[in-house]
Symmetry: C2
Subunit: 425 residues, 2 copies
C-alpha cells in the first residue's frame, strides 16, 4: 500500500554545493517516506492525500551529525581549556568509565536522547562507550525517538585507563554487539567503532577490519585530530605510511562506508587514500577550536572532491546544534583565510548548509535534500520572530542559522514520520 502525505511551506534546500533552491509556498509530496517531488501547486492526483500546511514557516532538509559522543553529553561545556590528549584523560575517560553502571547510563543516555530528539539533527553517527549492555540501552532510547542513527560500542585495548581497557575481551565484545544489534531496530544500526589508533592494538584493529567485511558494517573513528596524537600514531604504527594508512592496512578504511572525524592535518597522500575509498570526513569545527587542534582545510577537501559533512563532536564541541556547527564551520574557515591562507576562499553559509544537509546526509543514502527519491527528512522552522517581512527566503535561512534555537523548531520529520518534539523523556 502506498502511503502519501504532503507538507506545505517555504521550501529551501541545496542540491549541490553553492546552489540554493528556494520555493515559496510550495508542497513536498511524500510517498512511503520518500520525496516524490516538490511542487508549486498540488497535483490533482494528490488532492486526497493528507496535507499539513505550515503557513509562513520554512521547510528545510533534515540535518546529519556525522560524529557525536553520547556519554560526553553530561559534561558538555566543561574543561574546554585543554588540548585533546589531556582532555581525554581529565574528562572523557573518567566519565565514560561510569557507563559500566546501568542506572547511571540509563539516566544520562535518556537526557542525551531527549536532547537529540528536540534538536535539528535527524540522523547521527554516535559513539557509546566500551560497555555493551549500556550501549544497547542507548540504542533502545534512540530507536524510540524515531531518528536514524548508527551507534558504536567503542573498542579499546591500549593507552587508556584500566577500567576502559577491554584487553583480549575486546574482540568478543565487538562481535557480541554486532550480533545483538543487527536487525533489531529499523532505524538504529550498529557501526564498527575503534576509538582511534592510539587506543587499539594491531590485533584488535585487524579483527574489527574482518568484522566490518564479514557483516558489511560501516566504520566510524577519529583521524588526524591533533599534532600530538599524530606523533603518537607514528610511534605506535611505524609500519604504516601515515595515520590513514594505519586504518587502511587493518581493513578499516573504505571497504565499507567509513566516516573519519576531524582530519585536521591530513597529508596529500592521505587525502588521495580517503578519496579513493570514498571515506566521509566529519568536520568538527567547534571541537577542533576548543581543543586547540587546528582548522581543517575544508576548501581544499571540496576542491579535491572528498566527501565532507558536519559534526558537533559533542563534548569536544559544547553544543548539540548543527545550526551552531554551520556557524562554526564558516567562522573557522574565515579565520583560516585571515590568518594563514588569504588565497583560500572561506566557506559560505550556503556551503556550510550543504555540508550539514546533503553532504553528511549522503552517509545515510539519499538524505538531506528534497530531490525526487530522497528520504523525507524535514525541519519545520517558525522564524516569525526572527525575520521581519521583506527578507528573501535565502536571507531568512541565514538568520535561522545564526539566530534560531530549538524553540524555533516547530516540527521534524524523519523519513516521512513526524518526531515528537514536546514529550519529555
Amino acid at each position: 500500500m502506498i502511503e502519501k502525505h504532503v507538507l506545505k511551506g517555504n521550501i529551501i534546500y541545496t542540491p549541490q554545493i553553492g546552489e540554493l533552491i528556494a520555493l515559496p509556498d510550495s508542497f513536498i509530496l511524500i510517498e512511503n517516506g520518500l520525496v516524490t517531488k516538490t511542487s508549486a501547486t498540488l497535483p490533482e492526483e494528490w488532492s486526497a492525500a493528507p496535507i499539513h500546511d505550515y503557513g509562513a514557516s520554512l521547510l528545510l532538509p533534515g540535518l546529519t551529525d556525522l560524529h557525536i559522543h553520547a556519554p560526553q553529553y553530561a559534561f558538555r561545556g566543561l574543561g574546554l581549556d585543554m588540548e585533546l590528549l589531556s582532555w581525554l584523560d581529565a574528562y572523557a575517560f573518567p566519565e565514560e568509565a561510569r557507563y559500566a553502571d546501568t542506572g547511571y547510563a540509563t539516566f544520562s543516555y535518556s537526557q542525551f536522547a531527549d536532547s537529540l530528539r528536540k534538536s535539528f539533527t535527524c540522523r547521527a553517527n554516535i559513539f557509546a562507550t566500551i560497555h555493551n549492555n549500556t550501549a544497547a540501552k542507548l540504542a533502545e532510547l534512540i530507536a524510540k525517538t524515531g531518528l536514524y542513527a548508527n551507534i558504536g560500542k567503542v573498542s579499546m585495548d591500549r593507552n587508556c585507563p584500566a577500567e576502559l581497557n577491554e584487553g583480549t575481551a575486546a574482540l568478543t565484545a565487538a562481535a557480541a554487539w554486532i550480533l545483538e544489534m543487527q536487525g533489531r531496530y529499523d532505524r538504529v544500526k550498529p557501526i564498527i567503532t575503534p576509538r582511534f589508533i592510539p587506543s587499539c592494538s594491531g590485533p584488535l584493529l585487524a579483527a574489527l577490519g574482518q568484522m566490518t567485511a564479514r557483516y558489511a558494517l560501516p566504520v566510524q573513528s577519529h583521524l588526524s585530530e591533533s599534532l600530538k596524537e599524530i606523533s603518537l600514531v607514528r610511534r605506535l604504527e611505524p609500519q604504516s605510511r601515515h595515520y590513514a594508512d594505519a586504518y587502511y592496512r587493518y581493513g578499516l578504511l573504505g571497504g565499507q562506508p567509513t566516516v573519519m572525524a576531524h582530519c585536521v592535518h591530513l597529508s596529500d597522500q592521505e587525502k588521495l587514500l580517503l578519496k579513493e575509498h570514498g571515506v566521509f570526513i566529519a568536520h568538527c569545527p567547534q571541537s577542533n577550536s576548543n581543543l586547540i587542534s587546528g582548522a581543517a582545510p575544508i576548501r581544499s577537501f571540496l576542491r579535491a572532491e572528498l566527501k565532507v559533512g558536519l559534526a558537533t563532536d559533542m563534548a569536544g564541541g559544547a553544543h548539540m546544534s548543527l545550526l551552531r556547527a554551520m556557524q562554526d564551520a564558516v567562522t573557522v574557515s574565515k579565520l583560516r583565510a585571515a590568518l594563514i591562507g588569504m588565497d583560500e576562499e572561506p566557506l559560505s553559509l550556503l556551503e556550510a548548509f550543504y555540508l550539514a544537509s546533503k553532504g553528511g546526509g549522503a552517509f545515510f543514502g539519499k538524505v538531506g535534500s528534497f530531490e525526487p527519491g530522497y528520504e523525507a527528512d524535514v525541519l519545520v522552522i517558525n522564524d516569525a520572530e526572527l525575520s521581519p517581512l521583506g527578507l528573501t527566503l535565502g536571507q531568512r535561512l541565514e538568520r535561522v542559522i545564526y539566530l534560531a534555537d530549538e524553540r524555533h523548531l516547530q516540527a521534524k520529520y524523519v523519513a516521512g514520520k513526524e518526531v515528537l518534539l514536546t514529550k519529555d523523556n
Copy 2:
C-alpha cells in the same frame, strides 16, 4: 539617607585577570547601589535590610558591552559572508539611512532596547546613526531600561552614501547632540562618536577633538579593523604616523576616556600610544571573524598591560550575548595559537570572563566586580537545568558561559536597582 539591601546566592567574580573568587551561599551587601562587601554570614547591623535570597542560583557581576551598533540590530545575522568595507556598503549604510525616519527608528530601536534589557549586558557603549532626533529617541528608550549606556550620535562627512554624509552640518549636529543630552538622564550619557577615520574629514575630526576636551566627554570609534581599511587610512591621512596617530593628532585619543573597537592589526608603536593614554580596546572576536578581519592578539595586549574589554559589535557580530562573546574570545585566541602562534597562550575562559566583567566595566568606573566600593551590577543566573549536583562553582560558571541563554537570566541589577526582564517593550 542610606538605602541598604542584600542579595544572597552563589557568588562568583574575578577581581584580577586569572583569579576566580567563588563564595557559596553568600551575601552581597549593598548600600546606595554600591557593594559594601561580600560576606559568608549576614552581619548583625544588616539584619533589618531587605534581603533577596536567590537560593542555588549564581550571582555574577554585570557584563559590559564596549561596542555595539543599535541601528544594526534589525539586520543582525545577515550578510556575514562579506568583508568589512563591502558589508558597510551593502548592509550597514543603507539600513542606517532609514533612521532618518522617526517611525522606523522608534519601532526598531524599541526592539533593540528591549533585547538589550533582557540580555546579560548591564552597560554598553552604543553607536546610533548620524540622525540627532532618532539618536535621542534611542537614548530615551535605553534610559527607560535602567541600564547604563554611553550613546553616540555618529559623525560622518566623507566616504559614505550621500544620505549619510552630514557635510559641513556635521559640526553643529555633534555640538547640538551634546547640548541636548548632557545632564538629561542619570544613566545614559553622550559620547563623541566619529564613525572612523575613513568617513570623517580632518576638520570634522579636529572639531570633535575640541568638543571632547571642552565638554569632558568620552570618545568611541573604530581602529585598525581590517587591512583594506588600514591602507585606506594611510592614503587619507598621509601626515599621520599610523592609524592610531590619526585619532591622536585630532585630540581624539585619550585626552578623555577613549574606547577603540577592534585593534586587530596594531603596530607596536600604536600599542605604546594606546597604553600611554589609557585607551580601552573593545575586543570584538565574532565580528572580526565574520568580516574576515583577523584575530586581535589579546594575549600580547594583556602582557603589555593595555586595557581590554569585550564587545559584541552587533551586527558585525550576529549575537547580542556577552556569554557568546566570551566563547568567541576564547575560540579566536585558540585558533590564533593553533594557526600562527603556538608560543602564544590562548585566553582561558576565566580570562574572558574578566574581560567581559571588570575589564570592560572599568570604562564605566568601579564596575564589573564585587569588591567593596564597586557598583552593584549583578546577574542572577538560574543554572539548575544546566548543572547537575557535584559541579564546583567554577565549573558551573564554565557551563553557563557555554550553554546558558537569556532564559537562564533570573534577575539583573544595575547599580543596585533591579531591571525588569519580563516586561515587553
